[in-house]
Symmetry: C4
Subunit: 193 residues, 4 copies
């Protein structure tokens, strides 16, 4: 099975998720730019989510570029990832409606954490399908960033009940971790050529 | 007529349906995760619909992969399928607003049952266009899963007025039926090569 | 300039229009299927619009398939067509909110009539770009269906103020006119080969 | 890294933005076409935004068509552009809700101005990646339209607090500036062949 249509479907779903999040933002009541100040936390949650979903698109792009073959298990692991990403607009709306309540802040971490697990599952399924000697397998063999993200979300979700700001700071840490460009796959591919 | 643009259009519509369903979910009133408990039935309906639409995408993907030619009848049968799939977000919202009333639960089954019929019609149109000896025709010649799904929906819809939980259990049965991977098309294609 | 990306962009916009229309439908107040009876007119407007947008996709698909070259004028004529198609969800919502008032019924005809004009403009721009001897030009040289549709909308819009049902009957006539398959382009292409 | 998937993702996001803007339009209260008169300003804002987003799609299309290579910096500059474009539906809704208040009118200019900067950043990143002698670099070397747009937005945003109509007139000027077709890239490409 070729990767083309999976890439196209994933790109389509991710493009829609990243765009419909804006429908969940509430406009300020007045007509002043200062009215945006009250909405600043949710605008920052929107920005954080936009970068997060953009990172998934970017990394997914690189991973599938290095992939030769996919099978049914890859399709379902990928659908699991898309399911959790599709809930991002829902938790943004909840954060907004509840004024960043502890439960909604924890839910945000659960959704992003489950998406991280979905990404790992997709990675494992691709390696199982392409074999441990394939370029994609060698390239992602030490995925400490992926496991690190999952660990941080596991810590951040219960901490949301202690302080929402600690949880949010940890969510920002995960994004910062990924913004450092991942040169592993590119390097491995270069080595093969 | 080539299958490329039909695949792209279907993928686009299915990607949008699977993603905008989330706009229909109502967030919990409070800020506690326990507030999700009240919304659990509709979150499960969302999950069930996500898997259902994902299954249509997956099976459609396999079917068109084995298809050489399409004609106007295939285009219209496919549009009939997409029409009923497009109503899935509508019935999820109705289920939520009515608190899983009998009528809304029946409507959910009608929409998914009509989509099943649409899938069968698309399958028949593809066979008519490619001939009974084509790989796709031999691969799907005994489509007992498709007819079984339609039969289950025919039974489940009136039963929704007896008990909504029986209807919902039957809807879950249909999904379980399809989650068993369908190796027929892959097997037939292998035999040809 | 190649037609590939224009086709992809048009398919994307049309797939989104055809899918988000469902977000405009209001669910019945009660939980009974009989509650759908009150919503029957708007469900029929949804069905009519779904077929209309599907027809545009289908005909656009055939036209671009026969097209070799496009230029800036084609891009802008096509964007004009997409602009009016993008207003279809808006007029469906207005029809629903106003209970099929005369003004909203007229607006529905104006939007679809302007889309028809947009389709004609795109057709003219493609002929101007490919020359009068190109396959696409000879294939669509007597586009009586396109001009007929525009004429019917010109008659139907003012008649909406006399009787909304006459206007709606005329809108259904236009769809019926197009559902008769258009074999001209296919025939011309066959003749060339 | 090839441009194909970036084009597809950008097209997807732009197609969704241009289409979901319509969900933000409020239908007239009555059923008369005269009811549209009250909504005329926001319909014009919708039209202006539709043309603006269409221009971005068109110019982006031409620029990437002339581009051979992209890198991580191009991906992030492009995501920055898409982030600001994604806020267009949000500011249209705010304009509508606030009755074209000064703050909302300024916010509209800020969002479009930041999108202009995002387009310039993408242009610079593409030139840095393809080298100053590449076709795309020579073609866009004197991008006075891009810098002119940014300058006009810088002037228009504070003027929104003096008079909203001056700001809106300036926003229309920017669109007019771009509607004059840009033959530079096409000309340079012709020269190379």
């Amino acid at each position: 099975m070729k990767t083309g249509r999976l890439e196209a479907f994933t790109d389509g779903v991710v493009a829609i998720i990243i765009t419909i999040m804006v429908l969940e933002l509430k406009v300020p009541h007045g007509g002043d730019l200062s009215g945006l100040a009250g909405g600043a936390p949710v605008l920052l949650a929107y920005l954080l989510s936009f970068i997060n979903v953009g990172l998934y698109w970017n990394n997914h792009h690189h991973m599938l570029h290095a992939t030769d073959r996919i099978d049914g298990r890859v399709l379902w692991a990928n659908l699991f990832l898309l399911f959790w990403l599709s809930l991002v607009p829902f938790v943004i709306r909840w954060l907004d409606d509840s004024g960043f309540a502890a439960g909604a802040t924890a839910a945000y971490g659960i959704v992003l954490g489950m998406a991280s697990i979905g990404y790992e599952l997709t990675e494992r399924a691709i390696i199982a399908c392409n074999g441990p000697q394939s370029p994609v397998a060698r390239a992602i063999k030490h995925d400490w960033k992926g496991w690190g993200s999952i660990a941080i979300y596991c810590v951040a979700v219960p901490l949301a009940y202690v302080s929402r700001w600690i949880a949010i700071a940890l969510y920002i840490c995960v994004v910062a971790l990924w913004l450092i460009p991942d040169r592993r796959i590119a390097r491995e591919l270069d080595r093969d050529v």
